[in-house]
């Protein structure tokens, strides 16, 4: 004992560390390694596979070249993602509020039911919408059958792309938001009313701030997903707008220019994570829940 306390403690793997090894391995091999590879490719010679052997900024130079119009893809992706989140906030809040009113503590479980559509492949569901909106499709055909002049030309526009995104990502906003609203204790709302507050003041000063963790998590989740969306723009939007994910996909596939695709991906990661971190900084869970 006395000897042991004199010498420096031998490096020892705690049981906790050893237990975490499988997960650490999975994270390193499954998440970190691909990211590192992509980051490395971004600095490789254009149109080559010289990863880890070459270092150049040519890919970034090409992207930031004023002649290059790839920035419009970034702009479209981010604009669509912003709009998607904004619409989802407005659409989901009343649903989440209603679920909590009607189902109480079971509302979280009920909101999971909204995830059921995810069991069907996203592409299949989007093609379903194509059939709905296409000329002589469900909407157009039905209207004609009833003697109207036919449905509006909705398909293959940025608007329908946004519609598809809102449709696909709704559960990802609804679930955390419902949980967030469920976190508001009944007593606090009662107390606020008892202290004289009206409906709007209760919402602004009590309900909204307390549901904020759930709302922000939902917004973050849907924003990240929407910024990387590609199927909606392709299938419903008919490539009327090109999002950045599609550019990245093209660079990796048809163009066989992995370094360029990696550089684009890296920039997207930086933009999205920058925005996400900025939002997270505002989300002080300790302050909201109290340090207990």
């Amino acid at each position: 004992m006395a000897d042991g306390s004199l010498s420096a403690p031998a490096p020892k793997l705690t049981p906790g560390f050893r237990a975490s090894l499988p997960v650490l391995f999975l994270l390193v091999a499954g998440f970190l390694a691909p990211l590192v590879t992509v980051a490395a490719y971004a600095f490789a010679t254009p149109k080559s596979f010289d990863v880890f052997r070459s270092f150049t900024l040519q890919n970034f130079a090409a992207i930031f070249d004023p002649q290059n119009t790839v920035w419009t893809s970034f702009a479209w992706a981010l604009a669509l993602a912003f709009c998607c989140v904004a619409i989802l906030l407005i659409v989901c809040y009343p649903i989440a509020f209603g679920l909590n009113k009607v189902f109480g503590k079971w509302s979280g479980l009920v909101s999971v039911l909204f995830v059921f559509p995810l069991f069907v492949s996203e592409n299949v569901r989007l093609y379903g919408w194509v059939l709905f909106f296409i000329k002589n499709g469900v909407l157009d055909g039905a209207l004609k059958w009833f003697g109207f002049s036919g449905g509006p030309e909705l398909l293959y526009t940025p608007g329908i792309t946004l519609f598809g995104m809102v449709y696909v990502y709704l559960p990802f906003m609804l679930f955390p938001m419902t949980l967030g609203i469920a976190m508001i204790p009944r007593d606090l709302v009662d107390a606020a009313r008892d202290l004289g507050a009206g409906r709007m003041m209760i919402w602004r000063e009590v309900e909204l701030p307390l549901a904020m963790p759930g709302i922000l998590i939902g917004a973050l989740l849907t924003f990240v997903l929407a910024a990387g969306a590609v199927a909606e723009a392709k299938i419903l939007g008919g490539q009327s707008v090109i999002t950045i994910t599609q550019d990245i996909e093209v660079a990796f596939t048809y163009a066989q220019n992995w370094p360029l695709g990696s550089a684009l991906a890296l920039i997207l990661v930086l933009i999205v994570s920058g925005l996400a971190l900025a939002a997270m900084a505002r989300l002080d869970l300790d302050k909201i829940l109290g340090k207990r």
Binding site: P185, D187, L188, D190, A191, A192, R193, D194, L195, G196, A197, G198, M201, E205, V206, P209, L210, K287, I288, L289, G290, K291, R292
Partner: protein, 368 residues
């Protein structure tokens, strides 16, 4: 219904200070899915009174309080505040304030913001609000530097004080308390009970407090109402409730008691073991079944020197120390357990076989 409200309304404006109760309940009931949580309560609460409603959990006391605060609407009856019918007045329009059992402090606000909440509702100017909040904090003995403290970092007792200050900031006519002290440790509870009593006296406001704790009720209240199964069984001063309980339930609720069931016969009242029982003269009980209730401190050991009006024999099977007093558990021949409480100096010196007894003057006879 409307005629009652209208007539009371018209004369409430005439006299500013009437002896009329501030809060009046007439046959108030609340039914949830066919179950009457509050089953016809009529009660007058006077201006500036401290009334405590006690009862076991499930007796409907919280439901009653929530109706008074406007968080539930009564299924029947009338609630009037200074003569005005308030049955359907929402809680944010009532000059009453409830201190919740959970305290319901806003966790995302500082102590100051919590206290200022009702003042913000009234759109009071920020400097004025701050001044008022600090004033109230001094009143409930919160240090001034707590103003900017996160309310969730306060201790249990401090949270109590914040909740109290916030309720006072609303400046209600009547304050309701839903067992706010139940989660605190004994010493702090005692301290806050006293402070609450002081606040009541200083503010002159009407307090309606509910608790399941007899002790809390005894210490603070001017009057105590005992609730059972949605009804008020008895209402009176702590002294009245303690010394003349209306029935066995009230007697048993208010501390440990010995109960001896008795039966009326032609020859007078008899115990289960067939012995006659001596009762105080002038006893009037409806029905043929009754119970004699004797508090442990009035039960004593019977010896040849010191007899008693009523005696029974049994065996001591437990002895507790209550500090300055000793309590004995005695099992009688009929298998009932009796409690005898004596000063330490009068500790029982003999063997386990004892005779205990009580005097008729110290016993209470209740129906049922």
């Amino acid at each position: 219904m409307s005629s009652v409200a209208a007539s009371s309304l018209s004369d409430s404006s005439a006299a500013p200070k009437t002896p009329r109760p501030v809060l009046q309940l007439v046959d108030v009931r609340k039914v949830f899915d066919g179950f009457a949580a509050v089953d016809g309560i009529s009660l007058d609460i006077e201006e500036g009174e401290f009334v405590t409603i006690v009862g076991p959990s499930g007796s409907g006391k919280t439901t009653l309080l929530r109706m008074l605060a406007g968080l539930e609407s009564p299924s029947g009856g009338y609630i009037t505040l200074r003569g005005e019918l308030i049955n359907d007045v929402p809680s944010n329009r009532r000059p009453t304030c409830l201190v919740f059992q959970s305290l319901a402090l806003f966790p995302h606000m500082t102590v100051g913001d919590n206290i200022e909440f009702p003042l913000r509702v009234r759109k009071m100017a920020p400097e004025e609000r701050r001044r008022r909040a600090l004033e109230l904090m001094a009143k409930v003995r919160l240090p001034e530097d707590y103003y900017a403290k996160n309310v969730m970092l306060c201790s249990g007792g401090e949270k109590q004080r914040v909740a109290l200050a916030r309720a006072f900031a609303y400046d209600p006519d009547v304050l309701f308390f839903d067992e706010p002290l139940s989660a605190l440790d004994y010493k702090l509870k005692k301290l806050l009970e006293k402070e609450l009593k002081d606040l009541h006296r200083e503010s002159g406001k009407t307090f309606v407090y509910i608790t399941h704790s007899l002790e809390e009720a005894m210490v603070m209240s001017d009057r105590i109402g005992v609730m059972r199964a949605g009804k008020v069984v008895q209402i009176g001063t702590p002294e009245q409730i303690y010394s003349t309980p209306a029935d066995r339930f009230v007697a048993e609720f208010f501390g440990e008691v010995n109960v001896v069931p008795i039966r009326r016969t032609e020859g007078g009242w008899l115990r289960r073991d067939g012995k006659p029982v001596a009762v105080a003269p002038g006893l009037s009980i409806d029905g043929d079944e009754a119970s004699v209730v004797i508090r442990p401190e009035y039960m004593r050991f019977v010896t040849e020197e010191a007899g008693a009006d009523n005696t029974l024999s049994g065996t001591i099977f437990n002895e507790y120390s209550l500090g300055s007093r000793l309590q004995y558990q005695i099992r009688s021949r009929t298998g009932r357990t009796f409690l005898v409480e004596v000063p330490r100096a009068a500790a029982w010196k003999g063997d386990g076989e004892v005779t205990i007894g009580w005097d008729a003057a110290n016993a209470i006879v209740v129906g049922g």
